[in-house]
Amino acid sequence: MPEREEDAPVLLTMSDVRKSFGAVHALVDVRLELRAGEVHALVGENGAGKSTLVKILAGVHEPDDGVLTLDGQPLRLTGPADARAAGIAVIYQEPTLFPDLSVAENIFMGRQPLRGLRRIDTALMRRRAADLFRRLGVHLDPDRPARGLSIADQQLVEIAKALSFDARVLVMDEPTAALSGVEVERLFAVVRSLREAGAAILFISHRFEEVFALAARITVLRDGRWVSTDPVEALDTAQVVRRMVGREISQLFPKQETSVGETVLGVRGLTRTGVFSDVSFEVHRGEIVALAGLVGAGRSEVVRALFGLDPYDAGEVRVDGVRLPRGRPAAALAAGLALVPEDRRQQGLVMELSVERNATLTRRWPLARFGLLGRRAERDAARTWADRLQVKAGRLTDPVSTLSGGNQQKVVLAKWLATEPRVLIVDEPTRGIDVGTKAEVHRLMSRLAADGVAVLMVSSELPEVLGMADRVLVMHEGRLVRELTRDAADEESVMLAATGTTGAPATGISTDRRGGAA
């Protein structure tokens, strides 16, 4: 790490910070140094530990180990109030405002100016809010409720809040992810003026052009570990990408070679205004297609729409050439589609019900006799699948909530595989699952493909994408920007496409079709 003595004074440091959640090591020996009047960028893949780091600075999580200092003094943050008292403001990707309260109240919540009898001085509060917006050069009505503000305006309210308590450290977690081009420009103008005023800014973004435009230094995290911190002059995009992904692809992916058959699922011009647009692709029999991209690129939204869970505004979805009606999950099921959702606790399982009940939920009617579900039929059906997937459960009558994450995921898979789908859509199939179970899930998907099922997999884990997929479709900001064959796909090409970088990539077959914004 190069030391440049002539630089602005160091304001906040983190050193040897560790944080674990159960068996998962979110951060291991992470260091960071923020200087007054400087924008410091933090980059890393999904799951590299950026959000955990942000939450430590916000006082939401306390580190298990390690030291934070502010102005050279040790700093201990036991709650969000501590962070605020220390002058640290955090702006989350999705701002955390109170929708029912006015903009001015949102800015000053808990710190409202007071007058006699400790009453809130509403007029003064409103005036101060208006002053803050004037300083930021924006026109927001302090009296309007926060509900209905655009994300960009909500972020401005958050920034106004940071200004209101003279925050010296401003942490911005992917502030531009949901903004349009103009909004990004306006945000940058504000960030630059805060920098000139001497604030230390930690800027997290997946957009390299933004990182290089704003930041003086870049810190790279990978798998919860600190990789490097360098001044931007010493780096280029390709280097940063390499550091973000630079790891061995483990041999965890037992991909079987399969023969690809005819088209089963065809998606043409699928568009949902403001979410994704003009998405077209095909999935063939016996093929695993990965939908890669950054969080928020619109991948889950696409699969939800094509399955009929969400509406779409234009385009069509065909299974075996037959068009699926939009917004009808039951029709999708009947056509042989199955969707294993991303959030299994919320959407995939009924946590209080037993393993066998969950496993047979999708086949209540075929299993029933005269409209009545027999326990025996349920149990037999559940046991078949539990055995095939090696679900480790004490008893099949135990509630699903007692199983480990990996075994829960197997139950979700069992539930959908029991419908004998022709197209299996899995959203983040191995999120939050330990390594061993991951391999089992991968082996299972591979075998399904070999059996002729068309598999569409949404995944944020690059090794999984590269290891499992016959083809990789990369989404960026709601558009399908690149299609890579198994041979052409590597970490750099996928990452470059996912971050919307136009710089000449090493590999890739299709032309860059990146649209609009940024």
């Binding site: 109170f98 409720p145 103009v182 647009s277």
Partner: protein, 353 residues
């Protein structure tokens, strides 16, 4: 600025976000104000129509009856509104009222010369104690308020029954001074109603003007964000439940003063009327918005409907249906509003993809 943001509307439309985006939510705000005005208007119409049929409806005694009838419901509604604003609910208020009313009666049986102030303290004290139990279970044990207060609804009532053991306290057992509290007037307004007005004004002032009062709204608006802001969520919710309990205790004393005849069943089932009054009064059942004034207006409206229907010669059986229709209308308005705002939000969120 309209909600018609199309996918291509990004780089070409320059300073769009900088305009004061007044329309959407201040319109919502106006509708919300209209909500309280609307209830007031409905109340005025109801009273006017009823008076047209029977002028005695608002004569001296009629007016006093109307105000007295609304008093207890208003006190309870104010407490309930404070709780509902935080996205919780207190279903135990009817039982707390019963317990406090009976405790008041018992106090006067034991000490016939006890000053009225002592009775007030005792009743409110019983209520606060019940509120502490509710609040502790919700805030510390983190059990949902709906479940906790449903449980304590039965527990408090059970305590009440076993304490009363079938005993009924009659008006004759109560000291004259206390009973006259139930009929006394000041400038033509029943003294009991003045209690309710005082409670209402104090609560309204507190919620509007104090940090902790605003924090109750913040908690109801988004509990997770409230934690991120460092608002002591548990402590505030606890406080809200204690206040609700205390006000239910006060309502118990007022009940004793008004009716005089007390047994363990006093106030049975009133909790749903209270929740109905609060919801009709424009307090969102999921917290974050509404005012105690609206809740009080809702309470007055519901109790006035109860008095007006017989005068209008409408079958009293219809009363419940009318109340139900009002609740549905109130909630329907909330939903329509929320849907409109959500729609607008989605239009704006277009990411320029």
């Amino acid at each position: 600025m309209t909600a018609t943001t199309t996918s291509g509307a990004t780089p070409e439309t320059p300073p769009r976000p900088s305009e004061p985006p007044r329309d959407g939510s201040s319109a919502a705000h106006r509708i919300f104000m209209a909500r309280e005005l609307g209830i007031g208007l409905a109340l005025v119409l109801l009273v006017a129509a009823t008076t047209a049929v029977n002028p005695r409806f608002v004569s001296g005694q009629g007016r006093k009856d109307l105000l007295l009838g609304a008093t207890i419901l208003v006190v309870l509604a104010v407490g309930q509104a404070i709780v509902i604003v935080t996205r919780n609910v207190d279903l135990s208020v009817g039982s707390v009222l019963g317990l406090s009313a009976f405790a008041t009666g018992k106090l006067f049986l034991a000490m016939p010369d006890a000053p009225i102030v002592l009775a007030l303290f005792a009743g409110v004290g019983v209520g606060l104690l019940c509120g502490v139990v509710n609040g502790a279970l919700i805030a510390v044990a983190r059990v949902p308020a709906l479940v906790v207060t449903l449980g304590t609804l039965y527990v408090f009532r059970g305590v009440d029954y076993s304490w009363a053991a079938g005993q009924q306290i009659n008006a004759a057992d109560l000291p004259r001074g206390f009973k006259s509290l139930g009929t006394a007037t000041l400038l033509g307004i029943p003294v009991l109603a003045l209690f309710a007005v005082a409670v209402l004004l104090a609560a309204g002032f507190y919620l509007r003007s104090y940090r902790s009062g605003r924090e109750l709204y913040a908690i109801g608006s988004d509990p997770a964000a409230a934690r991120l802001h460092g608002i002591p969520v548990g402590r505030r919710v606890f406080g809200a439940l204690v206040v609700s309990g205390g006000l239910a205790g006060l309502a118990g004393v007022l009940y004793a003063a008004r009716f005089g005849t007390l047994d363990a069943a006093a106030g049975t089932g009133i909790e749903l009327n209270v929740v109905a009054a609060v919801v009709v009064g424009g307090v969102a059942i999921f917290g974050g918005s509404g005012s105690v004034y609206g809740a009080a207006l809702g309470a007055v409206l519901l109790s006035t409907i109860g008095s007006a229907l017989p005068v209008l010669r409408i079958d009293p059986f219809w009363q419940q249906a009318v109340v139900g229709a009002l609740i549905l209308a109130a909630i329907g308005m909330d939903r329509a509003l929320a849907a409109r705002i959500a729609h607008r939000l989605r239009g704006r969120r277009a990411r320029g993809a």
